[in-house]
Symmetry: C2
Subunit: 591 residues, 2 copies
């Protein structure tokens, strides 16, 4: 049975040494002193270890079952969900006007890492609700907000997002679900939506579906769709639950992983819906939540890798097999623990250096969202828009790869379902697919975000890298190990961007042929930047008499990433520079 | 439901254009004209498509069930196994003295690719039997061979290999299973073996277990173990089945994949065993089969990737989503097929160029085994010994990665179990683990094979690369696209080998810290060499008026590999050159 303990020290390091949150001018950040955030993380960690971790295997094993239109979640989910509500864990960063605790988004994200590590599938019920909450909060009328938000903040009611249909996934322009205006101002929604997480379940009194559909008069394609609120139970004027709406779950999917999360086919059969936001502007409403939702998936990528890593370390310490090449490390035992072997150590360092770098990157991203929302900082908004596909795409690709690496440490025992390592791999796999498959993230990055605002955000990113390198040029502790590799990586990324600019006009396929490589080189550059910054922060903390073992390990882990992973930018650049010719050489029939 | 069609053209290209088998002086190869091999592949392809492919999902879904000591294989497996026996598919490359057809091992391997693609789990019953057949054939007495081999060639009896125990996986020196000599010359075997593929099932009349155990008087550790034949049913002098032996399946494991393959815990409780080969020389007997068994697993790596790739292509052609950036490709339809998109194309080219390169590498490896066995060619034996960990480790790592890539093409639909893409990923995963986890392959390569015979095999490998490059230097069609990249990769691999030599004495951890990187750079170099040779062969065939579309696609696919994948050797070299410092920096407690 897998173990999990919240990495409180590492979270604290990111918040207080790297981001220095309590010294930040962002409104609400002054509350975030180390004592407070540490207490929140410790408490969340207890819930994660004691309540959610044991349910992870249960959820995987039992899955969700649809019977007579009702979806039964796995044993224990209901009680745990209740406990999460009562503990206030559903409302951390929600608006106090609707019963939330008003903490920065950063805190919501950090706690979400803990819960996602412990039980990714379980945490999705609350995560989806938060997404729907944000959409209604941003685009709802006052009446809509008053009706839905308090119950969604408490998770008495949960939420869903309904985009995909059988014939349309990435290409939402192919959408067919219809919204017919009714005399009372509502709409009758008819159509089939698929892959709807938490579409139907037994954890909440009501489910508030947000549904994209076509109302009459909209343009064809993606520009003509509108967003609707479709509650499972209609809500009476006094807030009590009214009639059952005409929306039902037709099926619960049998998936590779996240079995505890009910992925439903939802049938809308003239269901009553209420327009959310402007008519025919449904995609705009969706896009405002996109950064947050995609950051949340990028977070899942490293959160599951963290849990898998912890179990790989535990096994590597405990399992005795072979002898260290440098001499017996455990002479009294029949063999040495796996952790003495360099190739096992390499794998653990791969995992550790990725997870810690990704944590810093993600929480920095959450901090940018706070700066955008709480300060109206347009530069922060532009930066997080640029980096969102990188957080989502790179971190879920690598998070999966690292979960596979953690499973590999267990050898044959990792392939046996009862040991739980397989579940990490199977669960992590979905994060590469949903909320925009990673190829779509790469397309968004190269096809849209690079050119955003005349390229200003990406120029700002390069300038930030350059400034950091220049500002710290005099620090011999950083120079060779951190600044020079970062400079090299930064040059590679810039060369790739220039290559795209140079070829884009001549061959539209060229940039897109290199899009996934560019996403990955950006990811490495961002983690490289994070590690350089963390090394600087760690040296500063060491100078101030901080925890030597922890801080030196942090620096050594960063050195590992800079020397063994960051150089991947050169390979990605080499691939990108081959252009589209080799990629597009074959006629489709030749495959 | 996934589809599969045997890649007969590609197999024929490897045999006849690349390896030119019918012109080879290897005994038995003269039979292998294109008409004959093509007919075998076509026939195997029919069996694979019609019989084995439909059973793949059944096996995954039902798994194997242990009830009252009997293991029930999935519905249809029994009839299919019977059909395979009757079709002569179990005996292709077995010794005619025992009822085999006497074909070269190369043919057995090529056909095994087809069956592994169609149904990896099912094909393991025959595959394991072949391994046990080979061990008895190489080390058995005449009486043992006469008793067991004819029934194993026909697969009336199947075979197993029993190495692993709960406390010992890679480190077989920790083995506890005991063999006590009996008055009649047999041994009483007692102990528990785990992860025994095909340990118990209902496909055959008898199961011949080969079991490693400790007999009295053996040295401690790995050097003191012996190998025993332990039949499920003892065999009477007249060949009929006698008493049930004291060996039982205690459990069938619930695994991530290959559910159709019964992975058993086997309990030996004073079971009657017969020494196979010399006392205390059990490992030597095992090692003689190792190259073949590991090549077989490396073959599974690309075979499953091939099946996944075929289904990714089918989906990419059929699924309409988005529009080509260069203008509508399917103006009459609501959208263009996925295959127009450069990032989808990149993924398909990744898959195609890996699978075709790996096929060539593996079948060349099988050819080396034939040269060793049938001609006593010591240089071929040394070369395949060097390359075996590369075939196993590199190809199963990449094969898994490519199965994941194929699944990704399917988007959300790839995550739904009923579509079958998940099964390819889950099945492919085991190949990275069993028959020596890939970290152990890397250790074998760097710690043992590089130094073999004073480094002669690796020097021969480098010389072969050099000779090919030099011999073809005058061919402008090969030079820039194939020879120069190959030269660069070859230099990188040599630099890494030199680095190991330089640091090995000073720091034993250094080479091992780079072992997985070295395994991968060797893999790329080998596939690069294969692609360069295939390009040469394809140009020659084009000049001779061969199938233009097929041959040009072959060359274009090779160009893709050379330009986009081979350059990975530089990254691996950069990592290797960082040595052990970063890898081993942390004390074990700091993880």
């Amino acid at each position: 049975m897998p173990v999990y303990a919240a990495p409180v020290k590492d979270l604290q390091f990111v918040l207080h040494n790297l981001l220095e949150v309590s010294q930040s001018e962002v409104p609400g950040y002054h509350e975030l002193d180390a004592g407070f955030t540490g207490a929140v993380f410790e408490e969340a960690g207890k819930v994660a270890t004691d309540l959610l971790t044991p349910l992870n295997a249960v959820g995987d094993h039992e899955g969700c079952v649809l019977e007579n239109g009702v979806v039964r979640t796995p044993t224990g989910f209901k009680a745990a969900f209740k406990a999460m509500q009562e503990g206030g864990w559903t409302s951390l960063d929600c608006d106090p006007d609707y019963g939330g605790q008003g903490l920065p988004y950063l805190m919501g994200a950090a706690v979400s890492e803990i819960f996602s590590s412990a039980n990714m599938a379980f945490n999705m019920y609350q995560g989806l609700t938060h997404g729907a909450y944000s959409a209604i909060h941003a685009h709802g009328t006052e009446a809509q907000k008053a009706t839905y938000l308090p119950k969604m903040v408490s998770c008495d009611w949960t939420g869903t997002m309904n985009l995909t249909e059988p014939q349309c996934g990435t290409d939402l322009g192919l959408m067919r679900t219809k919204a017919e205006p009714q005399a009372d101002g509502s709409y009758a929604i008819t159509g089939t939506k698929i892959f709807i997480s938490a579409g139907e379940h037994d954890l909440a009194e009501n489910i508030i579906h947000l549904v994209l559909a076509r109302a009459p008069g909209g343009a064809p394609g993606i520009r003509g769709v509108s967003l609707f609120i479709v509650p499972k139970f209609l809500v009476n004027p006094d807030g009590s639950l009214g009639a059952r709406n005409k929306v039902t779950a037709g099926k619960v999917e049998h998936k590779m992983g996240i079995h505890g999360s009910a992925t439903c086919v939802m049938n809308y059969d003239g269901a009553t819906g209420f327009l959310l936001g402007d008519l025919h502007k449904g995609m705009r409403a969706m896009f405002t939540m996109m950064n947050e939702a995609r950051l949340g998936v990028g977070l899942q990528g490293y959160a599951v890798a963290e849990a898998a890593f912890q179990n790989a370390v535990a096994y590597a310490r405990e399992r005795l097999q072979g002898r260290a090449v440098t001499g017996d490390a455990n002479p009294a035992g029949p063999a040495d623990p796996l952790i003495v072997h360099p190739d096992i150590r390499r794998s653990l360092m791969d995992q550790k250096s990725f997870v810690e770098g990704a944590r810093a990157f993600t929480l920095w991203g959450a901090h940018l969202i706070d700066r955008s929302r709480r300060q109206g900082d347009a530069a922060a908004e532009a930066m997080i828009s640029l980096l969102t596909p990188v957080i989502k795409g790179f971190q879920t690709d690598k998070g999966f790869e690292m979960a596979v690496a953690a499973q590999q440490v267990w050898g044959g025992h990792g392939y046996i379902e009862a040991n739980g390592m397989s579940q990490f791999v199977r669960d992590a796999r979905i994060a590469m697919i949903y909320e925009g498959a990673n190829g779509v993230q790469a397309l968004d990055l190269v096809g849209r975000k690079l050119a955003l605002d005349g390229g200003k955000p990406v120029m700002a990113f390069f300038a930030m890298m350059k400034a950091f390198i220049k500002d710290n040029d005099g620090d011999p502790r950083l120079k060779a190990d951190f600044l020079l590799p970062l400079k090299k990586a930064s040059k590679d990324v810039q060369a790739a961007a220039m290559h795209f600019l140079g070829t884009a006009a001549k061959d539209p396929n060229a940039a897109l042929s290199g899009s996934t490589d560019f996403l990955h080189m950006m990811g490495h550059a961002c983690l490289g930047l994070m590690w350089a910054r963390m090394a600087k922060a760690a040296y500063a903390a060491l100078d101030a008499g901080g925890d030597t073992a922890f801080l030196e390990a942090k620096i050594a882990t960063g050195r590992y990433y800079m020397s063994r992973h960051l150089p991947a930018t050169a390979l990605h650049l080499a691939r990108i520079e081959t252009g589209a010719a080799a990629v597009m050489a074959l006629p489709a029939a030749a495959f």
